[in-house]
């Protein structure tokens, strides 16, 4: 991926090769950081000989972070080359598990000249980012053959929402040192089913174009232990009510996930539950935005009692979870602490959704006349 300011054609050709190389790399999965770049390091030298000043940002490979105590060769993240008042920013996209591309944070280490380019004006690198792997097409611009995404709009739309956060692998390892991982057959079976259910849900919602994020126990599992909590028994997702689409239920049913219950209504406290395989349930909570907080609702089927779960406002980030690119609240710790309190680090096996959450509030009772609509059990 190459982004550049206007540039004279003569100097462009150097980068065209790079561009082609990189796109070739992305297309064929050959941009395996080190080797190909080492071999192609030639362009770096050529560019410098042509009068470019180049800056290279490297970092450790996040793909190794999830594995205990591995340290490898650093991978290239960004190249910035300047000539006169022009700058070329080369962002290296790396393949990650979950069929997406990742680019790193442009972190300025101590020795780097902070005025090399106006870093704040760069479009990429303020945060790490994640993008759907684009299909590419070849086009000719000013007589130069280059590759661009087949769907440039989709790619451009992704940019503002591409911020990526890494799982806290180190803390997760520390967690497992304290509370051993559950490797019983049942736990492994649940993790497998939950993963499959999440994959199916993600696929279905993506097709509908509905944003979702990991919520409740699933989010806690990601944040605390970079995995699925084996005794959580369900998969929890959050969706903003403004993203609600009426065909969500039918889409899930078509995907083989029948509706189990539906509580509330679009205007208030909507909550959907689908039955997955092997007794694993998919819970979808719809979030309502107020001026200073967000909330989602809960309903007790027996009594018609309503509950409200309050969260501080949050935005969404990408992360990687069980070999998938999914969203989580960027302000994860605030989200988790609102839900589970300061003691979220300690595993709790018995959980009462009406009492245990830190942020639960009673929210009145549904009028009996509405029960048929707001309490649907299947």
């Amino acid at each position: 991926m190459l982004l550049m300011a206007p540039l004279q054609n003569a100097s462009f050709s150097v980068f065209q090769e790079t561009l082609l190389h990189l796109h070739y790399s992305i297309t064929y999965g050959r941009m395996r950081s080190l080797y190909s770049l080492h071999k192609k390091e030639g362009w770096f030298r050529i560019a410098e000989n042509m009068g470019f000043q180049c800056l290279k940002i490297e970092s450790k490979d996040p793909r190794l972070d999830g594995i205990d105590s591995l340290s490898g060769t650093e991978i290239p993240l960004h190249y910035i080359c300047t000539l006169a008042s022009h700058a070329v920013h080369l962002v290296v996209f790396h393949e990650r598990s979950g069929n997406y591309l990742w680019h790193g944070h442009l972190r300025l280490k101590g020795h780097i000249d902070r005025k090399f380019v106006p870093f704040r004006k760069l479009q990429f690198g303020r945060y790490p980012g994640a993008f759907d792997r684009p299909e590419l097409q070849q086009i000719t611009i000013d007589g130069l053959e280059v590759l661009i995404p087949k769907d440039p709009m989709h790619f451009l739309e992704e940019i503002p929402h591409s911020r990526f956060i890494e799982c806290r692998y180190k803390e997760a390892r520390a967690f497992f040192q304290q509370y051993l991982d559950d490797n019983t057959v049942e736990a492994m079976a649940f993790r497998k089913s939950a993963k499959e259910l999440l994959q199916l849900a993600a696929k279905t919602l993506k097709k509908l174009g509905v944003r979702f994020w990991l919520s409740s126990g699933t989010c806690l599992g990601w944040y605390r232990q970079c995995g699925i909590i084996p005794y959580s028994k369900d998969v929890d997702l959050g969706i903003f009510i403004q993203d609600y689409k009426s065909d969500i239920i039918s889409a899930f049913q078509d995907a083989g996930l029948p509706l189990k219950h539906k509580f509330g209504k679009v205007e208030d406290s909507l909550e959907l539950s689908f039955q997955g395989k092997d007794d694993v349930k998919l819970d979808i909570f719809f979030f309502y935005e107020e001026t200073d907080h967000m909330w989602n609702g809960g309903t007790q089927a027996k009594t018609g009692k309503k509950f409200k779960y309050l969260f501080p406002k949050f935005t969404l980030c990408w992360t990687e979870f069980v070999d998938m690119k999914v969203r989580v609240p960027c302000e994860t710790i605030e989200y988790i602490e609102a839900n589970y309190g300061k003691t979220w680090k300690v595993p709790v096996r018995t959980w009462d959704w009406k009492r245990s959450p830190h942020n639960v509030q009673p929210n009145g009772v549904w009028p009996v006349s509405e029960w048929d609509e707001v309490i649907q059990l299947y």
């Binding site: 793909r63 594995i67 591995l70 340290s71 598990s97 490797n183």
Partner: protein
């Protein structure tokens, strides 16, 4: 403290002694504090003030004197240093004006002082006062310790020990010493015993280094030696037994032969052992080693990216032969022919390594020379935070990942494998397979071609567990056909392909945890994991295990087992009937072979020559009895037969189900069919003669066939012990495969 005392001593007598408020008395503070407090209160204020003034003035005076002295000293040192450089400069100029002007003033050290100690139970080497080797551990480190120093910097470039009390270690030492670049400083010292298997070639090499005592080293002598690697030449002959390395490669590794260059001796001490039961006296050699210029110590290769890598490598480590040769360095980039229609070009290759950098060097060379290799797909996973293996990886411009060990021994290897495999699939998320190699394997030139032709089987046939490049039964005298493949009921390892789905869905989630001290490969062979699936192997192995010093290997076993295995050296072999290796087709083929085979006369003693007719191009079948699945007693006995047609020595017990290895050519293959599991797929054989009499019976079938003419004993006389403990009918090297955990 001294200063404080100077201040207080001028006061005489306890009564007049008034402590300065600034300075606390040290020794007697506790004892006298009450007394002093009382006394202090009684003294008049004027006396106290005067005392303070005197104290302060004295303190000032002393400080000033000390400071002046310091300044003077520094001045003198500087002026001395300024007078000095004259001779130093001349010296530098004589050496070719190498030292940068910056360094002249500070007076570079041109001599190393080296101490070498040799004794029965301890050796050590110190360079300029820094201990670079110290070994006083009991019952290890026996033999000749060798250290190589950079002649310009004095840095330790290599450290080895050769247990020349044991056979073949001297060959390794010769090989190593020949790999060392000329001009390097060599240090040798003997711990305990180093002469028993120090053969003539090694002694001649020591002589060529200028050593007097080395070539005459006797039983339990102590010996310390410092010399310089001489000339640009080597001595001795390459060990013929280095398999998988052609003459050209040996030459590249430094076996060029040629004239003997005698290096100058820098010091040597030797003490003869007075009697067979005692050791020579400990010797301590102290000697000065003049350093040469950096210019002399380095080569001047053309400035290319490759040579920069080479330079970094060669200025750091030693013992890699002609890769660091100034005149004619061996290439570090190989451009093997690309493979047309390469199906494994995008398959990641994980090289699992420990701290055996010389092995890794050899391994990577053969890997990078194989046709169809894609270097950007290779990752070397190093178990431990070792530098030298990482240097080797960097030399070849590959990706290296270090794994800080978290467990011990077998479990450590096992955890290293897990981390490496997980990392491989993380780094290459698109990959459906991974090739797994170890650092002590030679890779056949058609390794990738073999995989490219067979990898689709792994995709299309669920009954497959892996594709392996190694045939346990592929001995020199049994493996013939480079185009032939088999299915086997085990996981041979030593260069194999792993399916991502198998790893991610089955193996990774339940991989043995560190506290379980299991071998990963044994675990993978357990029925719970393998679940009846089979592996594809070639008749002639595409990998060769050259490693001797490993966790699970001993030299004797290695010689008995691995050296006799065949290794394919023919490029571009076209594999035959690859699709017939799929489960259904393979079973059809086995049925066909069996139905066309002629049943041997089971009433004959298998030891008789006539048991197997000496005909060509004919398939015979014999039946053995098995009481249960893992009953291989009969098979083992049969396999040990000296009958060269049935199963020649060394006896390789094979799995009852179509283990190759008991085929022989000529005259033609024998099928050994077990009664318990006569045919794959569970179907009973529709063959005649499958009854008690037609079955070779039981463990002691030799005795159990009384009609047999030959004496059973005559069969047994020629028996050798099998090369290793056998399990599941498979011959397993001791330790390496060890015992099956569930047995």
């Amino acid at each position: 403290h001294g200063l404080a005392r100077t201040v207080v001593t001028p006061q005489s007598g306890m009564d007049d002694w008034k402590p300065s408020p600034l300075i606390k008395p040290f020794g007697a503070r506790k004892k006298r504090s009450w007394y002093l407090t009382w006394k202090y209160k009684l003294t008049n204020q004027r006396a106290l003030r005067r005392f303070c003034q005197t104290g302060a003035v004295l303190f000032l005076l002393v400080t000033v004197i000390v400071n002046i002295k310091l300044i003077l000293d520094t001045r003198r040192a500087i002026s001395e240093a300024n007078e000095d450089p004259e001779p130093e400069k001349d010296y530098d100029e004589a050496l070719g004006r190498l030292e940068s002007p910056r360094r002249r003033g500070s007076g570079p050290r041109r001599v190393l002082d080296v101490e070498v100690y040799s004794s029965r139970s301890k050796v050590y080497v110190a360079v300029d006062g820094t201990t670079v080797l110290e070994d006083e551990a009991r019952e290890q480190g026996r033999g000749i310790h060798v250290i190589v120093l950079n002649q310009a910097t004095g840095h330790v470039m290599a450290k080895r020990v050769f247990d020349t009390y044991s056979p073949h270690e001297d060959e390794a030492m010769v090989l190593f010493l020949n790999m060392v670049a000329p001009g390097r400083v060599l240090i040798c010292t003997v711990k305990d015993e180093g002469s028993f298997h120090l053969k003539d070639t090694a002694k001649a090499l020591l002589r060529s280094l200028g050593s007097q005592a080395g070539p005459a080293l006797g039983w339990r002598d102590t010996w310390a030696f410092v010399g310089r690697k001489g000339g640009a030449s080597t001595i001795g002959h390459p060990p013929c037994s280095i398999k998988g390395l052609g003459g050209a490669e040996l030459q590249e590794m430094g076996w060029a032969g040629g004239q003997i260059g005698v290096g100058p001796v820098l010091g040597e001490k030797h003490s003869k052992s007075p009697a067979l039961s005692s050791w020579g006296d400990p010797v301590l050699l102290k000697t000065d080693v003049p350093l040469s210029s950096a210019e002399e110590a380095e080569c001047h290769w053309a400035d290319t990216e490759l040579n920069r890598r080479r330079h970094r490598f060669c200025s750091k480590v030693e013992g890699y032969g002609s890769v660091c040769s100034c005149k004619d360095p061996t290439p570090i980039e190989f451009s093997p022919d690309p493979l047309p229609d390469n199906k494994v070009f995008n398959v990641p290759v994980a090289v699992i390594a420990g701290n055996r950098p010389n092995y890794l060097y050899r391994m990577l060379r053969s890997l990078l020379s194989a046709q169809g290799v894609s270097p950007q797909m290779i990752t070397v996973f190093i178990d431990g935070y070792y530098e030298e293996p990482m240097d080797v990886v960097a030399l070849f411009g590959l990706r290296g990942i270090q794994h800080t060990p978290i467990s011990i021994k077998n479990a450590r290897v096992s955890q290293h494998y897990k981390a490496s495999l997980t990392a491989t699939f993380n780094l290459f998320p698109e990959a459906k397979f991974a090739v797994v190699l170890e650092e002590d394997l030679d890779i056949a030139v058609d390794f990738f071609s073999f995989l490219s032709q067979s990898i689709h089987l792994l995709e299309e046939d669920d009954s497959l567990y892996c594709i392996s490049a190694w045939n346990d039964q592929g001995y020199e005298h049994t493996a013939e056909d480079p185009a032939l493949l088999y299915r086997v009921e085990t996981m041979p390892g030593l260069g194999w392909v792993l399916r991502k789905s198998l790893y991610k869905e089955e193996l990774e989630p339940k991989w043995p945890t560190p506290e379980k001290l299991w071998d990963w490969d044994m675990w993978m062979r357990m029925p719970e994991q393998r679940r009846g699936r089979e592996c594809i192997i070639p008749d002639i192995s595409r990998s060769y295990h050259f490693g001797i010093v490993g966790l699970n290997m001993n030299g004797y076993f290695h010689e008995a087992y691995f050296k006799k295995h065949k290794f394919n050296t023919v490029p571009g072999v076209q594999l035959r009937n690859v699709d017939s290796l799929k489960k259904e087709a393979y079973e059809v083929e086995v049925h066909r072979l069996l139905s066309e085979a002629e049943v041997l006369d089971h009433s004959k003693n298998p030891c008789e020559d006539s048991f197997l007719p000496d005909t060509e191009g004919h398939t015979y079948v014999a039946f053995i009895r098995m009481e249960k699945d893992d009953d291989f007693t009969t098979w083992t006995q049969l396999a040990k037969l000296s009958n060269p047609c049935l199963c020649p020595t060394p006896p390789p017990p094979v799995p009852p189900y179509l283990g190759p290895g008991c085929t022989w050519q000529p005259p033609g293959p024998v099928e050994i069919v077990s009664e318990e599991e006569p045919l794959p797929g569970g179907g009973g054989p529709s063959l005649p003669l499958l009854n008690e009499e037609a079955t070779i019976n039981h463990p002691n079938f030799l005795g159990a066939t009384p009609k047999g003419g030959g004496s059973p004993r005559s069969c047994r006389t020629d028996m050798r012990p099998p090369p290793g403990p056998c399990r599941a009918g498979y011959c397993v090297p001791p330790g390496r495969l060890a015992l099956h955990p569930i047995l």
